[in-house]
Subunit: 528 residues, 2 copies
């Protein structure tokens, strides 16, 4: 159940337009649904361009020719990397105006720009330039000229790795600074994650179809931290919000993620937690009945008949995990619009049903308010799984004892078999820790590192794989008890609680400190 690959593959299978997993070659990047939406409901989002109520930010869109392979000299075509740039507040090179560089994650960069209000709000204060580069293989930054070509097969996708993306950033920073005669300007890195692709929405009559896609968050959140580690000479510091850099191999217990989600529910309501915990057996036994799958499909209003009870369990597990990540204190638009404290809301609905309401009905009730109807491009899902089948191997189990989820023991071997069978690639489960650090990593950072903020909210299930305590004077952890997934990077709102305001203020102070130190050093050299 908690098996990422199976969960993801299920989501694909559940899609209206399932790719052929045994030969996964999505034919187009942005496919038109075969079944066009007949009715766009309240939360439909086919024309959706940004978070609700978010200010629109101004930028210029530019392109940069990147090498597809930075680490080898194969004869491969270059590709155009898109980046967004805003210089209206920039002090310019003579005044050593800072450059705020967002490490674009997997998805359309305009979406990230729209969702990272903190950077936009900070720039005028620091008189900084803003750069939002797009991650290769996403948005418009397609190798081989188009998404169709780039996503064709495992070979054309071979260069979709974190190391190549970091090298793209390194080259872009360097060339951009050279181009602007801004070599001496300090760069500050930002990293976080939000929903990535612009949602295209479908609604299937009155039925509900939600795709939850948390695997997307595996990779993208760690880029700023990794960038600081691998290219310390290119930036003076990094704000790495919700970066699960320890969620690999056996660095943290594999149960961490699901245990945190479970605790998020338990702290709101023990009965809610128990209802969910009890629901799996009900679902399973229902699935074993003769018309059980039809009944479950009907009860949960799926457009397409469930193939197994596990499919429903996987889908629900994803939904709960998603709620944990987006468990913000005010209404927000994290992939989909949600009320404030969504877990509280969900539990209220589960708990407040009339006596006699069945577990399945209670579970369904909670989902009604997440009526946003989404569809992930199957090509994108396919890419996400490919990444989990190559280097982004994150072991995850769920414990029947400590979590509300069905028990699942991570089994690398079966995942490897699945990847070989379906994607014809063999994962490298120990590569990320070899490249970016494993056990002893914190000690190495202590002696060989500086200027990183690891910010985390403890409600965020990814926080368990991040850095939650200061490593040194300059590698610090900012932890909020009530925060969820990189809430700090979102635009400020009138509803921001005090602890969030304080967290952001601490970040600003630290960034200011990095810059002051940099300017002092420059001044000292100049005065010599």
């Amino acid at each position: 159940m908690a098996n990422f690959l199976k969960t993801l593959s299920f989501l694909i299978l559940l899609s209206f337009f399932p790719p052929t997993l045994s030969s996964p070659r999505p034919s187009r990047l942005h496919r038109s649904p075969k079944h066009a939406p007949r009715f766009l409901g309240k939360f439909s989002c086919s024309n959706y361009t940004g978070p609700l109520g978010a200010p629109s930010y101004r930028y210029e869109t530019r392109y940069f020719d990147q090498d597809l392979d930075h680490f080898s000299f194969s004869d491969l075509p270059k590709f155009r990397q898109r980046y967004l740039i805003n210089t209206e507040h920039w002090e310019g090179p003579d005044q050593l105006g800072p450059i705020f560089f967002y490490c674009g994650n997997e998805g359309d960069i305009e979406w990230f720009a729209a969702n990272t209000g903190f950077v936009w709000e900070l720039a005028p204060r620091f008189r900084a330039m803003i750069i939002f580069p797009e991650h290769r293989y996403y948005g418009e930054s397609m190798p081989y000229g188009s998404g169709e070509e780039a996503y064709k097969n495992a070979t054309t996708l071979a260069h979709l790795t974190a190391e190549q993306a970091l090298a793209d950033f390194a080259v872009l920073i360097t060339e951009l600074k050279r181009n602007l005669s801004a070599q001496a300007c300090p760069v500050v890195l930002f990293g976080g994650s939000y929903g990535e692709v612009r949602n295209s929405c479908i609604q299937c009559d009155e039925k509900i179809f939600v795709i939850v896609r948390f695997i997307k968050f595996l990779h993208q959140t760690v880029l700023a931290a990794w960038m600081r580690l691998k290219y310390p000479h290119l930036a003076i510091g990094a704000l790495a919000s919700s970066a699960p850099i320890l969620q690999f191999e056996d660095l943290v217990p594999p149960e961490t993620f699901y245990d945190i989600v479970s605790n998020d529910f338990r702290r709101e309501s023990v009965s809610c937690f128990n209802t969910i915990k009890d629901s799996w057996d009900v679902i399973e036994s229902e699935g074993q009945k003769s018309s059980g799958l039809s009944y479950l499909t009907e009860t949960f209003r799926f457009c397409k008949k469930l193939e197994s009870a596990d499919d429903l369990s996987n889908w629900l597990s994803s939904a709960y995990s998603y709620l944990g990540m987006g468990n913000y204190p005010y209404p927000a638009d994290f992939l989909m619009p949600m009320p404030g404290n969504p877990i509280k809301e969900v539990c209220r609905k589960i708990d407040n049903c009339p006596n006699g309401t069945s577990i399945l009905q209670r579970i369904f009730k909670e989902l009604v308010f997440i009526t946003i109807i989404q569809e992930l491009s199957t090509a994108l899902i396919w890419m996400m799984i490919l990444m989990a089948c190559t280097e982004m191997v994150m072991p995850m189990s769920s414990s029947k004892k400590s979590s509300m989820f069905p028990a699942y023991n991570y089994n690398y071997t079966s995942d490897e078999e699945w990847c070989l069978e379906n994607y014809h690639v063999k994962p490298r489960p120990t590569w990320i820790t070899t490249e970016f650090g494993g056990h002893g990593f914190k000690n190495a950072l202590k002696t060989f590192g500086s200027n990183i903020i690891f910010s985390n909210g403890l409600l965020d299930p990814w926080s368990g794989g991040s850095v939650l305590e200061d490593i040194s004077e300059t590698i610090v952890a900012l932890v909020t008890e009530k925060g969820a997934h990189h809430l700090d990077l979102r635009p400020a709102t009138a509803e921001d609680p005090d602890w969030l305001i304080e967290q952001r203020a601490a970040e600003v102070k630290l960034i200011q400190g990095w810059l002051d130190e940099y300017f002092d050093r420059k001044r000292a050299v100049f005065d010599m």
Copy 2:
């Protein structure tokens, strides 16, 4: 003249077995000379297996399957990386016995093992394990199963880059430690360079044919330093001997290298310096005479007729540079056996000719004592140039004013054209500084780095591109006025001058400090 590519290509052309530069596909790794040596002289070395008088070191030879491309998931075959291992002095995992890891440079690893006496001498003292891994594409560590296949063309050689070699080391360290349950054992990195391929020797009757190959030293010396920078979590420190990490782009003046060689000669004898400085015009005007090239060929006893006077100048320039690198205080075997203080010897020969000796005769005299006759495998030379045509782009000029060399202004554009025409690859001249640090690099190291010894001898022409002053308390420069190219890594000898003994003692003390600090930290955790 000072143009590396032209110098190197000249050396190839001068070889008995010139590859076709327009289609450079050496057919075998270790070719047999078409003209077998008819006479092996005093310094012949066809059975030569190590430095003169060097002790033989004991090790086991093992192999490890490496991914050819660590940064992408192309469907490429793995290759067998060879490594040498000695555990006889190792304290073992329970005692946290250290691991001394030599970052193998380009060449047969057995040769490096034989030439890095310092590591062998140090290991018993620290009760350390010794690992000498071989660099990919050299020795027995051939992708695609054989040198013949690996060297076939630019595509099969595409993965010959420093980043891939470093990743090989990272994976090998990690897997080896895991395999030995030695995850907690501290790793110390060593890097230096010596002659790489076992010399195969030819002698052409009474004529002299020397190939000097200093471009080899560009890459190999920097691996330990780069390894420390990119994989700080895998080792506790690095001794980077003679590592010209700043010899890229415009980080140091392009004249640095040749100016240092020139000063090496000037400090021995101004008249010698002037003779060499005057010789270029004589060579050039001789070359313009009707039978001038025949005369030069005859005078310098080349086996094959010179095609231009520049060929001779290039060759002489290389020889002088080589003397600068190998300018050791005692007789040594740095690529070829040489007397102690070879520049002093050369200048003595140049200066002590009878009155009336022509400049050309004086120049030739100096070369007589370097009668070692070498041949570099053309496949290896071709690889070296390929590296200079891909990422190892080091701008080098020579100034008529400050050096004894003919004036040459580095011209990237013409080098690029040459590479495109002959190798069908476009160099990436700014990649190395982007990846490993450029301007501001020292400041970055200061805040984001620790435990590196940059050791240099000021006679070494590569010292100008290295780090010659302390960057922080733990990133220190050990500079000796009279040292040449990584003399410190050679085995101790009875003739070692005091300053060399002191330099090595300082290195030992620093390494001891890293280890003590590591053990203290481990002990603190254990005591908690």
